[in-house]
Amino acid sequence: MAAPLVLVLVVAVTVRAALFRSSLAEFISERVEVVSPLSSWKRVVEGLSLLDLGVSPYSGAVFHETPLIIYLFHFLIDYAELVFMITDALTAIALYFAIQDFNKVVFKKQKLLLELDQYAPDVAELIRTPMEMRYIPLKVALFYLLNPYTILSCVAKSTCAINNTLIAFFILTTIKGSAFLSAIFLALATYQSLYPLTLFVPGLLYLLQTRHINPNSAAAVHTCENEEQSLLDLFLGVCHDVCGKPSGNHLPLLLPSQLLGFHPRSLWLYINVFFYTIPLAIKLKEHPIFFMFIQIAVIAIFKSYPTVGDVALYMAFFPVWNHLYRFLRNIFVLTCIIIVCSLLFPVLWHLWIYAGSANSNFFYAITLTFNVGQILLISDYFYAFLRREYYLTHGLYLTAKDGTEAMLVLK
C-alpha cells in the first residue's frame, strides 16, 4: 500500500514543482481566492524584511502571521517552495495514516455491533466491506494532493497549508490515541487561527470513546483541557520571547490574526463558527470523526478571510464518506454549483477589477453562491449520515403503518 502513496506523492510534487517554475506561480499567488491578507506569502516576506530592518513586523498592520511562522521562515526563506511542498505531502501522509487507522476502528466497531446483533436484519447492503474500504486512505491522500484547490494554495505559498498540516496531524494523533500530542497540534493550529479551537470537542469525544482517556474521571477532561490551555499559553509566551519587545498593547502583537476577525461587522460571522459546535456535539456524539469533518467544513465556510486551501482540507475527507453516496440527494446540483462558482470567481474578479465593467456585487454574489453551495453540500452529507445510521438500526425498507413506503422526516 505504500507504493501507490509514494506514486501519488511523486506526481503531486512534480505538478507543484512544475507550477513553481512556470510563470503561473506569480499570477496564482496574487489571486484573491487563493490567498487572503492573513495567509499571503507576500506579507510573510514583508514581515521578514521588516524584522531584518529591526522594525516590529506588526507595526505597519500589514503582517498578520504568528511570530512562530516568522521564526520558521527566518531560517527557511530560501527553501520556501520546498517547505510548502513538504507541508502538503505531510498533510497527505498524516491523513492517509489517520484514515487507515480510523477505518480499522470503524470496521471493528461494525463487527462488534453485528455480533451484538444491534443492526436491523435487512441492512446487509449497508454493511461496509474491507474490500471497499481498502483504497479509502489512498483516495484521501489523492483527493488532498491533487485537488486543484490544494495545488493552487501550495503554489501561492499560502500559509493556510501549514494550518492544514497542523490540523491533519491533530487528527492523526487523535486517532492514534495520543492525547498529549493531539493537544500540542491543536494548540499550534489554534494559535495560528482561532477556529480550530472548536475541534477540541470532537477530539476529546474521540479520545474518550476509544478509551485512551479514562472516561469515568471528569478530572481527565479537565487535565486535557488544562493541558491544551497551558500549551497555548506556552506558545503565546514563546512568541513573546521571539518577538522581543513587548509593546504597551501587546495583545495585537500576540494574536494578530485573530484580532483581524474582530471587526464589528464581521463579529457575528466570526462567532458563527462556534455556534454549531455544541448542537453538533450532541447530535454526533457517537461519531466524533464525522463531527470533526463537519466542523472543519463549518470553519472553512464561516471563517473570516476564507481561501480555497481551507476548502481543500474538508474535501479530502469525501472518500471517507463514500458509503454515504447513495444517500446524498443533491450531489449533482451541488457539484455543479461549486464548479461553476470556482470558474466564475476569476471571471467576475476580472470584470470587476480589470475591465471595470461589472462591479463588486457580481463578485460577492458568486462568493455567496459558493458558500451556499458548500453549506448545502455539508448539510447533505450530514443528513445522509444521519439517515444511514437510522437505517442501520431500523432497517432499510421501512413501511408506514398503512403499508406504504415510509418517509423519514428530519426534525
Partner: protein
C-alpha cells in the same frame, strides 16, 4: 431547498424533467431566442438617461467658431503629408506649438507577424505627436484625450485640422480643470496602442517605443475622431472595443445630448434611430441595429482606436464623420461645437465615469438594454444544456438505483460504485486529449509560424492557417481513440457520462464567455447548444458522438490564461480570459482566412479601416 428535500415533490420534479425533457429543451431554446428578439421592444428596452450628476445638470455654451481655421489646417496637413509620404511630424509639432500646446513626439516600431501586403515590410515604424494643454486651474492629475488616428492612406486630414483648431480654441479658455491631450497617431491602432502602452508604462504587445517625455494626469475619457471631408451629413458613433468591451453609457449619452443640441444627425452602426418605438417598425429597425452591434461586439475587434483605451479603463468612443448623398450637410463648426460641448462637460467630472451602465446593448442611440434584461436570453439557452445534463444524470443513476433511494425498490441491476468508477476513469483520457487540443490551437499556430516558414516554402499567413488545419485534422482522430476507450466497458454508460461532462463543460464555458462578451457567448450558444443537445449515438458507428461533442469544446477552452507580460499599471496582475483564446483560436483563424481572401480581392475589404489596418486589427487581437 424545501423542494429539493421533500421526496414526493422531488420525485415529481424528476419525473417531469425526464418525461418532458425534449419539449422543455425546445421550449427553453425558443424562449432564449424569443427573449433576445424581444429585447428591442419598449418594456425591455429603456430610454437612456444621464446618470452622472456632474455632466447632467450643468449648462455649457459652445463658442467654437474656427471652421475656416480647421479647413486651412487640414489642407496644410494633407499637403505636407503628401509631400513627405508619412505623418508630417515636424509640421505637426510646429503647428501644435504655435497654438500654444506643450508638444512631444513618440517613435515606435513593431515587427508584424505577417508581411505588409502593399509594402512587403515586417517592420512598421512611425511617430505619434501629441500636445498637452495644461489646465490653468488645477494640478495635472486628470486629463482628457482627443485623438485622431492616421492610417497610411491620406484620410482623416480634416480630423487633424479640426483637432488643431479645437486646440487653438481650447487654449484661449480659462475654465479647464483637466489637462487635455491632443494626440495624432500614425498607423491607426498600432500608434494608439504604442502611445497607450508608453503612457501607462507597460509593454504587452512587444512594441518598441521611445518613452514619453510628457504626461498629463490619469486619463478620464477619450474621444477618437475620424473625419475625411469638409462637410458631413451625419456622425456615426462606434462603441465596441477590444474583446467586446464597452464604454460607460454616460459617455454615449453625452454625445447624444450634444448631437441633439446642435441638431446634428447621428447614427449608430450606420443606422438612424427609429422615431417611433410603439409601432412595429421602430423595434424592427432597432433589431437591425442591435444585431449589427452583436456581430461587431462578438468579433472582439476594436471598432476604432477608442477600443484600445477601454482596456486601460479609459472610457472612450469613436466619432466618424459620414458624408453621404443626403441633402443637408454640416460643416466642421457643428462637429467642433459638439466636441467642445462634450469636453466641457467631461471637464466637470469629479470622479471617473462610473454611474451608468457598462454592460448594455443598444437597439438605438437613445435606447438601451441593461445586463439584467439581456442575460436571461443566454440563460435560457444554457438551460437547455442543464436540462440535458440533468436527464443524463438521472438516466445514469436509474441504472444504479431508483430515483428515490430510501424506501424505494432495491436497485436490481448494476451495482453503483464500480460503474461510477469506470465512468469517471474512462473519461479522463478523452477530456485530457481535448484539453490538449485546445491548448495546441491556442499556442501552436503562432509558435509554429516561424518554424514552418524556415523549413517549408510557405508564407507566414499560410503557415498559421496550415497549422490550424493540421490541428483540426489531428483532432479528427480523437473520436476513434475515445471510441476505443469508452466502448470497452459499458458502452451506453460510457457515452452518457462523456456527454454529461461535455455538456456541463460547454455550459460553463459559454456562461463565462457570455459574462465577458455577451454577444460572442450568445452567438456561440445559439449555434452550439442545439448541436450539443442533439448529439446522440444511435448505432455502434455513431457511438463516438459524445466524443465529437467533447471535441466541440476545443474551440472554447475556458481557461485562465496568463499574458506573457501582464500590465502592471495597476500594480496588479492582469488576467486574460478565454474570450481572448476564442479570439486566437476561432476568430483569428477566421480573420486570417479572410485576410488570405482579401489579398485576392481587395475590393471586398471595404470599410473605414482598409486592408492594412484590418491586418493590424488582426494581429492586435492575436497579441492581446
Amino acid at each position: 431547498m424545501g423542494l429539493l428535500s421533500d421526496p414526493v415533490r422531488r420525485r415529481a420534479l424528476a419525473r417531469l424533467v425526464l418525461r418532458l425533457n425534449a419539449p422543455l429543451c425546445v421550449l427553453s431554446y425558443v424562449a432564449g431566442i424569443a427573449w433576445f428578439l424581444a429585447l428591442v421592444f419598449p418594456p425591455l428596452t429603456q430610454r437612456t438617461y444621464m446618470s452622472e450628476n456632474a455632466m447632467g445638470s450643468t449648462m455649457v455654451e459652445e463658442q467654437f467658431a474656427g471652421g475656416d481655421r480647421a479647413r486651412a489646417f487640414a489642407r496644410d496637413f494633407a499637403a505636407h503629408r503628401k509631400k513627405s509620404g508619412a505623418l508630417p511630424v515636424a509640421w505637426l509639432e510646429r503647428t501644435m506649438r504655435s497654438v500654444g500646446l506643450e508638444v512631444y513626439t513618440q517613435s515606435f516600431s513593431r515587427k508584424l507577424p505577417f508581411p505588409d501586403e502593399t509594402h512587403e515590410r515586417y517592420m512598421v515604424s512611425g511617430t505619434n505627436v501629441y500636445g498637452i494643454l495644461r489646465a490653468p486651474r488645477a494640478a495635472s492629475t486628470e486629463s482628457l484625450v482627443l485623438t485622431v488616428p492616421c492610417g497610411s492612406d491620406s484620410t482623416n486630414s480634416q480630423a487633424v485640422g479640426l483637432l488643431l483648431a479645437l486646440a487653438a480654441h481650447f487654449r484661449g479658455q480659462i475654465y479647464w480643470a483637466k489637462d487635455i491631450v491632443f494626440l495624432v497617431t500614425e498607423h491607426d491602432l498600432l500608434g494608439t496602442e504604442a502611445w497607450l502602452e508608453a503612457y501607462h508604462d507597460v509593454n504587452v504587445t512587444g512594441m518598441q517605443s521611445s518613452p514619453l517625455q510628457g504626461r498629463a494626469g490619469a486619463i478620464q475619457a477619450a474621444v477618437a475622431l475620424e473625419l475625411s471631408s469638409d462637410v458631413v451629413t451625419s456622425l456615426d458613433v462606434a462603441v465596441e472595443g477590444l474583446n467586446g468591451q464597452l464604454p460607460n453609457l454616460d459617455l454615449l449619452n453625452l454625445f447624444q445630448t450634444f448631437c441633439q443640441k446642435g441638431g446634428l444627425l447621428c447614427t449608430l452602426q450606420g443606422k438612424l434611430q427609429p422615431e417611433d418605438w410603439t409601432s412595429l417598425d421602430g423595434p424592427l429597425q432597432g433589431l437591425q441595429t442591435l444585431l449589427l452591434m452583436v456581430l461587431r461586439q462578438a468579433s472582439g475587434r476594436p471598432h476604432g482606436s477608442h477600443g484600445l483605451f477601454l482596456r486601460y479603463r479609459v472610457e472612450a468612443l469613436t466619432l466618424r464623420g459620414i458624408n453621404s448623398f443626403r441633402q443637408y450637410k454640416y460643416d466642421l463648426v457643428a462637429v467642433g461645437k459638439a466636441l467642445e460641448g462634450m469636453f466641457r462637460k467631461l471637464n466637470h467630472l469629479l470622479e471617473r465615469l462610473h454611474q451608468s451602465f457598462f454592460l448594455y446593448l443598444l437597439p438605438g442611440l437613445s435606447r438601451f438594454v441593461s445586463i439584467g434584461l439581456y442575460m436571461p436570453a443566454v440563460g435560457f439557452l444554457l438551460l437547455v444544456l442543464g436540462l440535458k445534463a440533468l436527464e443524463l444524470w438521472m438516466q445514469l443513476h436509474e441504472a444504479g438505483m431508483g430515483l428515490e433511494e430510501p424506501g424505494g425498490a432495491p436497485g436490481p441491476s448494476v451495482p453503483l460504485p464500480p460503474s461510477q468508477g469506470v465512468g469517471l476513469a474512462s473519461l479522463v483520457a478523452p477530456l485530457l486529449i481535448s484539453q490538449a487540443m485546445g491548448l495546441a490551437l491556442y499556442v501552436l499556430p503562432v509558435l509554429g509560424q516561424h518554424v514552418a516558414t524556415q523549413h517549408f516554402p510557405v508564407a507566414e499567413a499560410e503557415a498559421v492557417v496550415l497549422t490550424l488545419l493540421a490541428i483540426y485534422a489531428a483532432g479528427l482522430a480523437l473520436p476513434h481513440n475515445t471510441h476505443r476507450v469508452v466502448s470497452t466497458q459499458a458502452p451506453d454508460r460510457g457515452w452518457m457520462a462523456l456527454k454529461l461532462v461535455a455538456l456541463i463543460y460547454l455550459a460553463l464555458q459559454l456562461g463565462c464567455i457570455a459574462l465577458t462578451n455577451f454577444s460572442l457567448g450568445f452567438l456561440l450558444a445559439t449555434t452550439m447548444v442545439p448541436t450539443a443537445a442533439l448529439a446522440k449515438p444511435h448505432g455502434p458507428r455513431l457511438e463516438c458522438n459524445g466524443a465529437i461533442l467533447a471535441r466541440c469544446n476545443l474551440h472554447l477552452q475556458v481557461q485562465a490564461i496568463l499574458l506573457p507580460q501582464p500590465p502592471k499599471y495597476l500594480g496588479l496582475q492582469s488576467f486574460v480570459l478565454v474570450a481572448r483564446l476564442e479570439c486566437s483560436g476561432v476568430i483569428s483563424a477566421h480573420c486570417k482566412l479572410r485576410l488570405l481572401g482579401s489579398s485576392a480581392s481587395p475590393a471586398s475589404a471595404s470599410g473605414v479601416a482598409g486592408i492594412t489596418s484590418m491586418r493590424h486589427h488582426t494581429w492586435l487581437i492575436l497579441y492581446f
